[in-house]
């Protein structure tokens, strides 16, 4: 099979899987009730987080173990913005705040809240990225430091009770209101789904653009990309910030869908879970991230009933098996799977390469 033919086969398969997933997600609310629809809407917000991980890890080879930080920051800013737009929230009153601090005033305007929910995590990621992605810091350390940032972020949010509600988190968040009034469960579902489809298209566009090819070169061999003349650290910081912004949007949608946020949304656990979804699904082809996120979250819902705590054990086992036997993830393996067809066998193997 020739290279072009193979690429076309992979493209067709990927399009096929995407179409299946899209059809399933689009028709799901018809069969499922309001509750299940709302649950899947949450997962669709997490799909955007998984896409942001794939953009960073699968495309560029930067493995962040703290992708929940921009996600959680976006979620918290969206939550606070939503709450303060209706006066001083209850949890702030509990801690004795009677007048909204000046720093929170801009958040009372919903549009500004949305802008800040993306801008603040992006700015923070720019700072971290500038320091960590300079090329002299080894990839392992980037993973570990991003993990440490996630750790400290959780501790901080737990501690800043006055503004974040501490370990109780923030509740009473309304659904998004793009047209003036809050969406219904089904309206929100399709809103989040549209966002996820847009996020996929955006990542796909980046991947197939010139930028995407430079990112691929960085992943394949960073030094060589430097020698060719690309300013690799600028590219890395850029994609790090873009991916953070995407994660922040995911967090925002997540907060407004679940109606509550807790410190766990910024933590190491969610960060590593997102990486696990992408690793299990298969990195670098977007479809793997989507499928991995949907499948593992779906299985968790399904298994929680009879496995309980043992579900986590299953996640560990699945991850270990994937790393052992399917380094490209499930979707990666499906895309590359090539049965020897009778016609090809007759021609003598037919493995032209």
């Amino acid at each position: 099979m020739g290279g072009i033919k193979k690429a076309r086969l992979i493209f067709t398969r990927r399009a096929g899987i995407n179409a299946l997933i899209l059809a399933f997600v689009a028709l799901y609310p018809v069969a499922a009730g309001a509750y299940r629809t709302d649950v899947l809407a949450k997962t669709l917000a997490l799909v955007i987080l998984a896409l942001s991980v794939d953009l960073l890890w699968g495309y560029t080879g930067i493995l962040s173990l703290g992708q929940a930080v921009p996600f959680g920051l976006g979620a918290y800013i969206a939550a606070i913005s939503d709450n303060v737009s209706r006066g001083i929230p209850d949890y702030m009153v509990t801690y004795g705040i009677t007048q909204l601090p000046a720093a929170f005033m801009p958040l009372t305007v919903p549009a500004v809240g949305v802008a800040l929910a993306v801008a603040v995590p992006a700015a923070l990621s720019y700072l971290i990225g500038r320091l960590l992605l300079s090329g002299r810091v080894r990839g392992v350390f980037v993973s570990l430091i991003t993990m440490a940032v996630a750790n400290v972020a959780t501790v901080y949010i737990n501690n800043a009770q006055k503004f974040t509600g501490g370990s109780n988190g923030i509740g009473d968040i309304t659904r998004p209101a793009p047209f003036g009034h809050a969406l219904s469960i089904y309206g929100n579902y399709y809103f989040v789904m549209a966002a996820a489809v847009l996020a996929y298209a955006f990542c796909y566009y980046i991947g197939s653009s010139r930028l995407g090819r430079v990112l691929g070169a960085i992943r394949a061999n960073e030094n060589r990309a430097v020698f060719i003349g690309y300013r690799v650290s600028d590219y890395k910081v850029f994609i790090y910030v873009v991916s953070a912004a995407l994660a922040a949007i995911a967090g925002m949608l997540y907060a407004r869908t679940t109606g509550m946020v807790s410190p766990a949304v910024t933590g190491i656990r969610l960060s590593t879970l997102a990486v696990i979804w992408v690793a299990v699904g298969g990195r670098g082809n977007l479809t793997g991230a989507v499928a991995g996120c949907l499948a593992l979250n779906g299985m968790e819902r399904f298994a929680a009933g009879f496995l309980g705590d043992a579900w986590e054990l299953a996640v560990g086992a699945i991850l270990l098996l994937i790393v052992f036997f399917m380094p490209d993830g499930v979707i990666g393996a499906v895309l590359r799977f090539r049965p020897l067809r009778p016609a090809a066998r007759a021609k003598g193997g037919g493995a032209g390469g």
């Binding site: 002299r136 080894r138 990839g139 350390f141 986590e312 054990l313 560990g316 086992a317 270990l320 380094p327």
Partner: protein, 286 residues
Amino acid sequence: MGILPIQLMNGLFAASTLLLCSLGMVIIFGNMNVVNLAHGEFIMVGAYTAWFISAVARLPFVAAVAGAALVAGLFGAVVERVVIKRFYQRFEETLLATYAISIIMTQIFRLGFSSMKKIVELPVRGGFEIGSMTFPKYNLVIVAAAATAVGFVCLLFYKTPFGRRVRAIRQNRNMAMCLGINASATDTLSFGLGCALAGLAGAVTAPVKIVFPAMGASYLMDSFSTVVVGGVDSFIGTAASSALISESTSVLGGFMSEVYAQIIVLVGIILILRFRPSGLFAKERR
């Protein structure tokens, strides 16, 4: 007396704990270049073993510490043979595989021993006084254990044939193998040794910490920061950096909230990595 001496003393005790917990990682991360995200879980295994030997089997604490090191070490050797071995020099796979191991270990202990906290009795009770301040006597045990462990590991690495083999493999694996060193056996031994040290740390610190299945996570970040700042493969550097990190967290924590102290220390670590990527105390290597 002011608050500063108390902070400094507490910092010293914290530093000993940190050093004890990081030593295993210096071997596994620094010398073998393996990122072991299950490091904290090996500490957890050590702590549980210590709990089992001292609280359930009612044996003396020394037996608990020795048993913990043995169990964690053997377990580590098995993990190296079955999992780690396949992924040398591939850090992403190592990260994922060791993270999977850490989830599996945490969950097995949760299912086996429940999430309830286990209590390990202090083997040495009472306090001692310096000036007008009183500190628990057990803190001295931790300091002594940390000092002994560092001394032991330094001797082992720089004065024995085993240590020479480990260093030879690190410098040039192929050449070392050509000269007849059994690299894969040495890898298993040194990984096991790193895990045994983690287990020992878990046992020694068990009486002053909380023993529960998910305890590993907090140790992991602390150990990594320490090792990274120290210059991953240096025992003395790690000793210095654990002192630096604990003292600064402790002293800063005396003047501001603990959280801000943690943030400042993390920013410091990021800056150190940015400008000295191989750690503060690392020798220049080519």
